[in-house]
């Protein structure tokens, strides 16, 4: 079964990098360019796993996680944060919002793929 990934990042470059990396590894990739777009797409296509940036216009990554997990919904969907931030308080906040994992950019293709496989159980 193809794992579908929703990648939310306001940087076109990062979106393309993710797309290339993940499609090459057999994932189906959908991208969104900000938090609002991301949550919209999440609701539309129910991806198997979400990768989101933190710093984004309109709605940031925390907002994305909270919108997806809000009210105890979508608890089984892994949400990975992919960001250049590495401050501990931000990580804690992300986890409290319901993030599954935290990956610091720049990402390494292989590690990202293995993390994705791990959290999706593929």
């Amino acid at each position: 079964m193809t794992i579908s990934v929703l990648a939310i990042d306001d940087s076109r470059t990062i979106r393309e990098l993710l797309r290339q990396c993940l499609e090459g590894a057999g994932f189906a990739v959908e991208t969104a360019e900000d938090g609002v777009d991301g949550v919209d797409r999440f609701n539309g296509s129910s991806p198997d796993v979400v990768i989101t940036d933190i710093n984004m216009p309109n709605m940031d990554g925390f907002g994305v996680i909270e919108s997806i997990r809000g009210g105890g919904r979508n608890r089984t969907v892994p949400i990975l944060v992919l960001t250049t931030e590495s401050a501990a308080d931000l990580k804690t906040r992300a986890r409290e919002s319901g993030a599954t994992g935290w990956i610091v950019k720049p990402f390494d293709d292989q590690s990202l793929i293995s993390v994705l496989r791990r959290v999706t159980g593929a």
Binding site: M1, T2, S4, D10, S11, R12, T13, I14, R15, E16, L17, Q20, E23, A28, V29, E30, T31, E33, D34, V36, D37, D40, S46, P47, D48, N55, P57, N58, R69, N74, R75, T76, V77, P78, T84, E85, S86, A87, R95, G98, A99, T100, G101, W102, I103, V104, K105, P106, F107, D108, S111, L112, S114, V115, R117, R118, V119, T120, G121, A122
Partner: protein
């Protein structure tokens, strides 16, 4: 990878633009709360992308910059005065670094280091050494704070008891167990002692625990890394069995699990039961989201009310092809019109009405297509604020840039090609126009000079003005220099406008000492040439003590021009309407002979040389050709001299599609391009400036000796 690299630099352009826009707003006090955020995000995104391409210098500078911006964003620093200047210069530096990374050139590391230091000076105590290492180097960083005991090969016993939050955060114990299985031999025992009564109220609480016996060559760190994300969300113990059964030479090797063989679930029988309420992801959706095209993300964006307007990125070539095709359509329409005319239909025939509709539609399509290429001049203007900063630094003058009409839209190509001339004019305005602060104070002016950059539409053109509130053209000096350089005779008497226009003469440079700003060997003549090549016209207006304004009237597009269709001898030709001031049917008494073959037109008290286009372009027109039978087009040429072009008659006024001749025929003097007319014939488009310039033999000189300088 190269295409993503292109995407990155492409994106950097947009981000730098957004950054510059935000910084400008911060600088002139029109910023709101979101502005700093937007600047921060732009810099942040550049950093993020740069990291992916290992552009470390760019990353580290962007990081420092971003850190300062973050302080501004959170109110610890206030962006004004010195800091504002530093931020603006940092923006410039970031742009430079992006450019040198793009062109794979060496960046000036010393300058970058200095810029970083300047920025850091504002940070004071702010500590961020940990982050520094985090992003510059590694790939995925593993956030294990309490690293378990030293590496040891062999057998491990892992106790894993998830808490409720583990499930709430999208973790799946089975996935973790599978990851362990990748590492070696495992034996999993599930503990369900704590299972609540299925009918009870709190069955949602986690009850299952697992005990894993793992025999692996991996060390404890690697095992722990599987639990990287669930740290704190579960009770976890990893113990190395003391009776290490197969301690061997096996080194810890990379634990990166390869693709997992499907269906090889470990023996954890109650694996389904801990799954939370049935909100499982619908696999059905994958078919839809699996579409491999990269466009889906851009095109189907349901932007709705949120965020910026939806946009579409299109390859420029496609737009150009479309424009070309539309050009053909316009030609085709003209041809049909011609045919119908020749068919001599009754004037009230429906067909003529239909044709008119067709014309309107074709015109609409054309304008629509042109609009695709049109872009606001804003980014161009923003780039100029940097030029102003650099020029004012270099000259020790204080200058502010005021822009107007930033949203005026102009053809993309035009915008790109205006950058150099504008840069030069701005440098010029600061170097030669604006006075030193002291001098300005003495003159009773604001010590801070103003350079005004404005764009607006006027009668089918785009007018771009570069004004300064400096001293104005120093006419006596300009004239003296022109005399010294033999551009004009010593006894020439010139009007003020004529003196001002000397600035556009090749080889003219007023800078007493060659500064490293304007004095780069290019003068205003180069600017003028560049503007003319774009189909525009430049002019200057200056008032002593009040400043100067350079105005460039540019065509809206480079693909089409409004032309006057004229007959010259036996040929049909096109004169750009932009250069035609008026058309005159001269009375005999208005035409005067000058010299042997020259003729001038007397108009409103002055004399304007007449150039017979047919003669000038080498047509054999026979002897009985008289100017009084011809029509004169009064045109404005370079340097603002006026010339009357004589043509046989004017037949039409219409938009024509410009077809370049250069590719096939090279440059032809007097001809700028060609077009195809309604009858399918090719008509050449006259380059009025070149015609005027080449028609040397009869100039004003004979009529008005003082004008000899224009020889």
């Amino acid at each position: 990878m190269s295409t993503i690299r292109d995407t990155f630099f492409d994106e950097c352009e947009d981000l730098l633009e957004a950054m510059a826009e935000g910084l400008a707003a911060m600088s002139d006090g029109t910023a709101d709360g979101e502005t700093v955020n937007a600047v921060f995000r732009a810099v942040h995104s550049i950093k993020g992308g740069a990291g992916a391409f290992k552009l470390e210098l760019l990353v580290s500078f962007a990081h420092t910059f971003e850190t300062v911006l973050d302080q501004v964003r959170s109110g610890f620093l206030t962006a004004e005065g010195e800091l504002m200047k530093v931020l603006e210069r940092s923006g410039d530096m970031l742009g430079d670094l992006v450019a040198s990374a793009r062109d794979e050139e060496e960046a000036d590391e010393a300058a970058v280091a200095a810029a970083c230091e300047t920025l850091e000076a504002f940070l004071g105590e702010v500590e961020d050494e940990e982050e520094e290492t985090d992003f510059v180097f590694s790939a995925v960083t593993i956030d294990l704070d309490d690293a378990p005991e030293a590496p040891k090969e062999g057998s491990f016993r892992i106790l894993f008891a998830p808490k409720a939050d583990l499930y709430a955060n999208g973790h799946e114990p089975l996935a973790l167990l599978r990851a362990l299985k990748e590492m070696g031999e495992i034996e999993v025992t599930a503990g369900w002692d704590a299972l609540p009564d299925p009918a009870g109220p709190d069955w949602d609480q986690p009850a299952l625990t697992w005990t894993v016996q793992l025999t692996t060559t991996a060390d404890a760190d690697e095992i722990a890394s599987v639990f990287e994300f669930v740290e704190g969300l579960c009770d976890l113990q990893i113990e190395a069995d003391s009776d290490a059964p197969e301690a061997s030479a096996a080194q810890p090797e990379e634990a990166a699990p390869g693709p997992v063989a499907a269906g090889s679930a470990p023996e954890a029988p109650p694996v389904e039961s801990p799954a939370p309420p049935p909100s499982a992801p619908a696999p059905a959706a994958t078919a839809e989201s699996a579409k491999p095209d990269s466009k889906s993300s851009e095109s189907k964006a349901p932007q709705a009310a949120s965020g910026p307007r939806a946009t579409l990125r299109v390859d420029l070539d496609r737009v150009d092809r479309l424009i070309n095709t539309v050009g053909e359509l316009i030609i085709n329409q003209a041809m049909i019109a011609q045919r119908l005319k020749e068919a001599d239909l009754p004037p009230n025939a429906d067909l003529m009405g239909d044709l008119d509709d067709y014309k309107i539609l074709a015109r609409d399509i054309q304008e629509g297509v042109m609009a695709i290429r049109a872009q606001p001049v804003k980014p161009l203007f923003q780039r100029m604020s940097r030029i102003v900063r650099e020029a004012s630094d270099a000259t020790g003058k204080e200058v502010r840039l005021v822009t107007e009409g930033e949203n005026t839209e102009v053809d993309k190509t035009l915008i790109e090609r205006l950058s150099d001339p504008l840069t030069h004019m701005i440098r010029n305005a600061i170097d030669h126009g604006i006075e030193k602060p002291q001098k300005r104070i003495e003159a009773g002016k604001d010590p801070v000079g103003t350079v005004r950059l404005a764009a607006f539409h006027r009668s089918g053109n785009v007018l771009i003005e570069i004004g300064d509130d400096g001293a104005g053209v120093n006419r006596p000096r300009v004239k003296q220099i022109a005399i010294d350089k033999n551009l004009i005779p010593a006894d020439a008497e010139l009007t003020e406008t004529e003196i001002d226009n000397l600035l556009f003469r090749p080889g003219f440079s007023t800078a007493a000492e060659v500064t490293n700003l304007s004095g780069r060997g290019v003068g205003m003549d180069v600017v003028k040439t560049a503007i003319n090549q774009l189909g525009g016209r430049i002019s200057i207006a200056s008032k002593p003590g009040e400043g100067s304004v350079f105005s460039c009237a540019m065509p809206l597009t480079l693909a089409v021009l409004d032309g006057m269709v004229v007959t010259v001898g036996t040929q049909t030709m096109v004169v750009p309407i932009a250069s035609v001031l008026e058309t005159i049917r001269p009375r005999p008494e208005e035409i005067h002979k000058v010299g042997v073959s020259g003729q001038v037109l007397s108009i409103r008290g002055t004399y304007v040389p007449i150039i017979d286009l047919a003669v000038s372009l080498g047509h054999d027109c026979g002897r009985d050709r008289h100017l009084r039978d011809l029509v004169l087009l009064l045109v404005q040429t370079e340097g603002h001299e006026q010339v009357a072009l004589a043509v046989d008659h004017i037949s039409d006024q219409r938009q024509v599609v410009i077809k370049s001749l250069q590719g096939n025929y090279g440059a032809i003097e007097g001809i700028s391009a060609a077009t195809i007319l309604g009858d399918g014939k090719i008509a050449l488009i006259i380059d009025t400036d070149a015609v005027a310039a080449s028609a040397g033999p009869f100039r004003l000189s004979d009529a008005r000796p003082t004008e000899e300088l224009f020889e």
